[in-house]
Amino acid sequence: MSVGRVLVIDDDPQIRRAMKMTLSTHGYEVADARTGEEGLTELRSGAYDLVLLDMNMPGMGGIETCRLVRSGSEVAIIMLTVNNTEKDKVEALDAGADDYVTKPFSTPELLARIRAALRRLPHPDRAELQPLKAHGVEIDLSSRQVTVGGRTASLSPKEFDLLSYLLARANKTISHRELLQAIWGPDYGDELEYLRVFVNRLRKKIEPNPSQPKFLLTDAWTGYRFHLPQ
């Protein structure tokens, strides 16, 4: 039985073959695409749970492909990058990726990352899904929709998990480590850039003025807090 459908988008045929062989051995159903354009077409025709996306590809390129995938889909995205620099990581996460893996990577590490990206928080209770209305912002967790000033945005699964985790513990500072382990999994804890990028992404969607947040507050050196107006 398939544990998930994965689309590998990479211009290198050896990597596509290796990914298909190793991931299918571990129960995943794997399809592949050679370019970003091909990948987008494939994504429209099939239901996938996760995309493994090479950052450096001829044509559209990984970052642009990631943006386009994220703009129309909630599928989990892991970027495969050669450079291990902060700039590249932030660029990948900013484009909408849920995680990144630096090439060359080990198969167990990739499998752990895939599990973390597909990991979902238990669905919140109905009581926690009450729409929140304040400061002209409407957050409806049951439909994963956020409306700010008449403009509606939908949340990616990881953004949704992060927001609902913070919202369920409103007005309480949650540490970086707790957030990373709750949302990505127990192997995570030091990847502060993940939180920075995801919180920024969320602020752009839910804050009337993202540079002066009213809901998603940073508690310096400690963590983040969702400020719920009384």
Partner: protein, 486 residues
């Protein structure tokens, strides 16, 4: 030139005297009129002389006319004496009127001439400024400047010394002798000098108080204001070119760095892509449950897996070194506590340091350092990695930081085999491989990279070691300045 002017002046004086003589002759011999009419005619003639020529001619004409008036028309006629005292008054009134009128007339004429000259200078300055704005980038700007000045102001010779390039440019129909030495001298001394014999003006060109060159002009003198304007225009013209050249150089350097950076990215990608599929396969096989592979197969795959790791490290280090040496990396500086740099590095090394005794000794109240945290952590992790590799499993490793003058020293001590004295100075060299097994598992680039990173921060790295007792690798980082510490 001066002789020519004297001859012209003499001719005009003679002509003025001739005109007075003609009036005197006409009114004494041809048309006898009274003294008053004659006096008015003299006045009209003097006004005409003042208007047409100048004050010297009109003053001489006034005095001569006064004498003629007295001699020929005021009684007793034929003498220079005056009988009637009223005629004295008339004579002096005539002289005063004629002198005043001639002065006023000459002044008005001079002013008109000056106004015309100013207007002409303005037109020429405008023309020069337009010409300098439309310089051709393909030709030396100094050459175009002197050509413009010579043609606009119709100077027979112009020369310009550009201090930045050291070049002298000339234009005009005449040649200036020994101009280069004088121009350099004037530019260095930042003064002006007038070569009176050749009527050449040498003057320095300054911009923002700094002499940037000098200009020599042969020809009619410009007004001070016009000369200053010409010098300012030349200064701006030269400076504009320098600024443009600086922009061009910066652009070329930027493009070259971008190209190098893109090339290194492409090389990294090309090398790491085949390693990625190899690593995925070896690690997948090694992760297989026990029993699926024979031990022999597992060992062989293990060797392949380690080789892939080593190849990957080599590529990463080579690219990193090329980036640092090629100048295509930039320090992303921030102000950090030395202790947090060490603790972050230790956190990154956690899987390798587990089971080892690590002692951290960071002095209290160390100054902050302004560094690229990721790069300095790379240096620390590399030193820790070396210490772990080359010291016995049960021995302790000490990592610390202390203050020394205006520097912060970060060090890593191990109690390993140590390094022979003759090797100590060479282990930071690229691709240096030690005589012992010490360096066999490394890439031969790690310490070279560490040294380049530390030096890029303005510090240095060194080793002290005694064979059999262990080694201390330490590097210095300048403390952040107080003003930038927060």
């Amino acid at each position: 030139m001066v002789v020519h002017q004297a001859i012209r002046l003499s001719a005009r004086i003679l002509a003025s005297l001739a005109l007075i003589a003609a009036i005197t002759f006409a009114f004494t011999r041809l048309i006898p009129v009274n003294a008053t009419t004659t006096g008015f005619f003299y006045l009209v003639a003097i006004l005409m002389i003042a208007t047409a020529w100048g004050i010297v001619e009109s003053t001489i004409a006034s005095v001569v006319a006064m004498l003629c008036f007295n001699y020929f028309f005021l009684p007793p006629i034929g003498t220079l004496t005056i009988a009637d005292p009223q005629n004295w008054v008339a004579l002096f009134a005539f002289l005063a009127t004629s002198l005043t009128a001639s002065q006023l007339s000459a002044r008005a004429k001079r002013r008109t001439k000056e106004a015309v000259e100013r207007q002409r200078e303005m037109e020429r300055l405008y023309s020069l400024s337009r010409g300098l704005l439309l310089t051709d980038a393909a030709q030396p700007v100094g050459k175009q400047i002197v050509q413009q000045i010579a043609s606009v102001f119709e100077f027979p010779a112009v020369a310009l010394y550009d201090r930045a390039s050291g070049e002298t440019y000339r234009a005009g129909t005449e040649d200036l002798a020994d101009v280069e030495t004088k121009l350099r001298d004037v530019a260095v001394r930042s003064t002006s000098l007038q070569d009176s014999a050749a009527t050449v003006l040498f003057t320095s060109i300054r911009l923002g108080g700094q002499p940037i060159g000098s200009l020599a002009i042969q020809g009619p003198a410009l007004s001070d204001a016009a000369l200053q304007s010409v010098l300012n225009l030349v200064a701006i013209g030269l400076e504009r070119t320098l600024a443009q050249q600086a922009i061009n150089r910066a652009e070329v350097a930027r493009r070259s760095e971008e190209l190098k950076s893109a090339l290194l990215d492409a090389i990294a990608h090309e090398f790491k892509t085949p390693l990625t599929s190899a690593k995925a396969i070896t690690t997948d096989l090694l992760a297989a449950p026990a029993g699926e592979l024979h031990q022999h197969q597992r060992d062989l795959i293990g060797i392949a897996d380690e080789s892939v790791d080593r190849m990957s490290r080599l590529v990463s280090d080579a690219i990193q070194l090329a980036r640092i040496e090629g100048g295509t990396f930039q320090l992303n500086r921030g102000v950090h506590f030395p202790s947090s740099l060490i603790s972050s590095a230790l956190k990154q090394m956690k899987s390798l340091t587990d089971g080892r005794q690590i002692n951290v000794k960071v002095a209290d109240d160390l100054p902050l350092v302004s560094v690229d945290a990721a790069l300095i952590q790379m240096v620390i992790t590399h030193l820790i990695d070396n210490a772990l590799k080359y010291s016995p499993q049960q021995s302790a490793i000490e990592i610390g930081a202390r203050s020394e003058g205006s520097n912060v020293i970060i060090y890593v001590n191990d109690r390993g085999a140590g390094i022979a004295e003759d090797e100590q100075s060479r282990i930071f060299d690229k691709f240096y491989r030690g005589k012992t097994e010490r360096h066999l598992t490394g890439t031969g680039m790690g310490l070279a990279i560490a040294r380049e990173i530390v030096r890029a921060h303005g510090g240095d790295i060194s080793v002290t070691s005694r064979p059999g007792e262990g080694s201390q690798f330490s590097f210095s980082l300048p403390a952040a300045k107080q003003s930038s510490s927060r």
